[in-house]
């Protein structure tokens, strides 16, 4: 059971094919699998569908795959930070399926938990509900949403051991946990692979059963909106 690979390209070897469906972790540019996205760009895989909350910015995150026109469709809740995305979408070159953020997270979680569909109040009475099954429970109307079952999940964590147990850091956890669970195969990139036994078993955020391949690498971890306060405000 060898899970540790030397680099992103090796970790993705044999997993990529055109027209595939990839679930990616991250929120904005926080906790995105930046090394694996770069490797997918290098591999040149085409016609990709991504389930990812955001689409990165023009030159970072999924944005780099938009520039190379490798993305066919995005399933996202918010894509406002990416000019190239807007250009391709308005030109009809890119499909876009908006999901409410919580619905997207739950679709991933459900897929990973073997649940093909679930009912939610989110989006009832909006364009999101159009064409979806409606059902009443206790006098309230809900719509059915489907679980996501992706060919591949790519995630970023803080630490891993060699069995794939993952620990995330602060708000970089975000979509990485549900995304990891909904892929047939999950590849994780981490900042540090630590010796087996050095992670507290009570504090594992994602058990290694969900993680098939791991790489360690150095991350740029770009900040999207740098906001600060002055010392005298304190």
């Amino acid at each position: 059971m060898k899970k540790v690979y030397a680099n992103a390209a090796e970790a993705l070897d044999g997993l990529l094919h055109d027209d595939m469906f990839i679930a990616a972790g991250g929120f904005g540019l926080c906790g995105i699998p930046e090394l694996l996205l770069e490797a997918i760009k290098e591999a040149g895989t085409q016609n990709l569908t991504f389930a990812s909350n955001n689409a990165g910015v023009d030159d970072f995150g999924i944005g780099i795959l938009l520039q190379t026109k490798q993305v066919k469709k995005m399933i996202s809740s918010y894509v406002g930070e990416n000019a190239e995305f807007m250009r391709q979408y308005l030109a009809g070159e890119l499909e876009l399926e908006f999901n409410p953020q919580g619905t997207l997270a739950e679709r991933m979680r459900a897929g990973g938990a073997g649940i093909p569909g679930f009912y939610t109040k989110t989006g009832v009475g909006t364009v999101i509900a159009e064409g979806k099954e409606h059902k009443d429970f206790n006098g309230e109307t809900y719509i059915m949403e489907e679980g996501i079952f992706a060919d591949l999940a790519i995630v970023k964590a803080w630490k891993a051991d060699d069995t794939g147990n993952l620990v995330f850091r602060k708000t970089a956890r975000n979509f990485n946990v549900p995304a990891a669970t909904c892929g047939k195969v999950c590849v994780a990139e981490v900042e540090e692979i630590v010796p087996r036994g050095s992670l507290d078993p009570d504090a594992i955020h994602l058990p290694g059963i969900y993680v098939h391949r791991i790489i360690q690498g150095s991350h740029e971890k770009r900040i999207e909106q740098r906001t600060t306060r002055k010392k005298e405000d304190a």
């Binding site: 929120f27 979408y89 409410p100 919580g102 997270a105 009475g125 708000t171 549900p178 600060t228």
Partner: protein, 208 residues
Amino acid sequence: MPWDRNQMAARAAQELEDGMYVNLGIGIPTLVANYVGDKDITLQSENGMLGMGPFPFEGEEDPDLINAGKQTITELSRTSYFDSATSFGMIRGGKIAAAVLGAMEVDEEGDLANWMIPGVLVKGMGGAMDLVAGVGRVIVVMDHTNKHGKSKLLKKCTLPLTGKKVVNRIITNLGVMDVVDGGLKIVEIAEGVTEDEIRAATEANIVN
């Protein structure tokens, strides 16, 4: 004088009660945090955090610690972190007492539009649809009229909806209104504003 942004935020802060878990949207709602005073309020950031702290000091920004507006923030002694599915579980599950949100339009039924202008703005709804469908109380903070002087409190929203029958209270630069049976009810008028001015700026039916 109508309220300014900070006065609107201060008025919205009065809606928050000790012990509440609250989600604040982007824009004026973010300013509400500055006016909670001594009340024990825990702020949720839907990207996976309870107990959101203020912006960091310069040089102490952490790329792993951002709010839902992607701004760098800090943690507090009470802070907890969790994944996005858990985060929206607590939103959808009604655990968050209130959300304070901005809006483009609200109507007399409590319908809310704040995510899309067809052909102009297609950024996405983010977590707004989940929030308005799930939290205990939805408080909208916005200007009473748009930049062309047209009312944003309508009989019927014209923009794509974020949620249907979801708004409880609206705080504008002119005052405070509640969504009740039959329309909107004036709860409070900003000092120096007259009832006639509020009525003239409101397209929605006002009930007494």
